[in-house]
């Protein structure tokens, strides 16, 4: 109540009479409240995944248009992408065979929640032999509208003690969709638009290269089609 009263005084009294509105205790208490409010604001800040909603919808629209064959622009885009896949985009094998970590069937938009779960999984983090070189995100059983998937976030089994089996990656060749050093989460989400929607996607894998401070230094996104 005292804090509310103090705020009332601040807002309604002339500047010269605002001096000594709060005593030390109320000032500290108010500061703590401000810190908590700002902190919660940061926790629930507008996420870049909000943009993903548009991205996924766009992807869905694109997929529908492809099926209907109504958009010459899309058809052209697919052709361009296919050309790139054939000529410029070399076909790579993914550097891992299995990923061990946290797994959930969920909306792709909500992946931040799985990242939080991954970082908070003490049992998993304690299994690391040394500083991890990379974290992997594997998307399987992706829904036709590209909104849901079985998502696994984890480490390469070789980096963990006892080398647990983990989730085995679908066998085949992986094409690189996106790679770079300063990839933002938005760019990563937009990269889904680069997929060849005329083909059925078996899995998508992201490799997040980490330094010793666990900061992401580069990202590579790869896709495998049926």
């Amino acid at each position: 109540m005292l804090t509310i009263y103090s705020w009332y005084c601040i807002l309604h009294l002339p500047i010269t009479t605002q001096v000594l509105v709060m005593n030390l205790f109320v000032s500290i208490l108010t500061s703590i409240i401000i810190v908590v409010i700002v902190w919660f604001g940061v926790i629930y800040q507008p996420s870049s995944t909000d943009i993903d909603i548009i991205t996924s919808d766009q992807a869905h629209e694109i997929a529908k248009e492809i099926t209907a064959g109504t958009s010459p622009f899309i058809a052209k885009k697919i052709k361009t992408n296919t050309d790139k896949n054939d000529v410029k985009y070399a076909v790579y094998n993914t550097p891992v065979r299995s990923v061990f970590g946290v797994e959930q069937h969920m909306k792709i938009n909500d992946i931040e929640q799985l990242w939080s779960k991954f970082y908070r999984d003490q049992a998993l983090q304690s299994k690391l032999n040394d500083y991890p070189t990379a974290a992997y995100v594997l998307y399987r059983n992706i829904s036709k509208d590209f909104k849901n998937a079985d998502i696994t976030i984890g480490y390469h089994s070789d980096e963990l003690s006892n080398k647990p089996t983990g989730v085995l990656l679908p066998v085949g060749y992986y094409q690189t969709v996106l790679t770079g050093n300063d990839i933002t989460s938005i760019q990563l989400l937009k990269a889904w638009q680069k997929l060849d929607f005329s083909r059925e996607v078996t899995a998508v894998i992201e490799r997040h290269q980490l330094n010793k401070s666990a900061d992401v230094t580069s990202v590579r996104m790869q896709v495998i089609y049926k």
């Binding site: 500047i15 010269t16 605002q18 940061v42 926790i43 507008p46 989460s185 938005i186 900061d215 230094t217």
Partner: protein, 299 residues
Amino acid sequence: METLSEVVSTDFIYGLETWLDDWFLVFALALFVFELIRYAFKKKLSWDLMGDSVANFATLAMFIVIVALVAGVYAGVFFYVYENFRIIDLPVTGWTILACIILADLAYYWEHRFLHMNGFGWATHTVHHSSPHFNISVAYRHGPMDWFFPLFFHLPLAVLGFNPFIIFLAEVIVQIYQTLLHTESVKKLPRPIEAIFNTPSHHRVHHATNKQYLDKNYAGILIIWDKMFGSFAQEKETVNYGVFPRVNSVNPLTVFFSGYGTFFLRLWHAPSWSHRFKLFVKSPTWAWQQEQQEKKGSN
């Protein structure tokens, strides 16, 4: 808005912080030259002002040497606390940086107020206040322990989950803003700015020895903290700068160690252990009053 939601790499943040650190000093030096020319035009340029300014930059040099020695430990403490005691992982985005600057500014307010409220903190901060002049070079007039106290007030940000690189950047931004306030060239800014932000006018009050201005305007960037917490004073009458007792020297070593010199002398000559304890925890005004009473008693 969308830009603020984008994830920023810590390499970028570190690069920005280093760039600001390096180039702002050059910018500040240019402003200082401008101030000297202004003083010359107003016929206020004196040998004392020049000597004081040289002493200010000399204390900066000594401070940089100390910071170079302790920087690793300082940063290490932040990273250790962040790695082991953070409550949550906050994303490294523009929003997070903005929030961290606001909270670092609030932390700065309390740290600054703390330095004015106890003898041990004041012993280092008094160096900054001891100049009888007020210009950009005074912003660089540092005490030997100026690096020490910010640690305790900013460390909670690492516990809250702010990446240490963001905290360091926020600290630098608050410091840079503070530096720009040390000038007599700017009288008053437009009222909305004066109402929300700290300004040269507000900060002149902070450096004053005028009775009604004592222990006022601790803010870094936002003056609203002072208005909220009852430590605000408006600049009305002409400000007299400096501290009591006066340093009366432009010798960099005398200036740099004056605070702790006076503090340890007071401790040495203290009549009792309870008095010594009070010298640590009570305000410098109390110590000054005690000293004046003692002098009156001996006369």
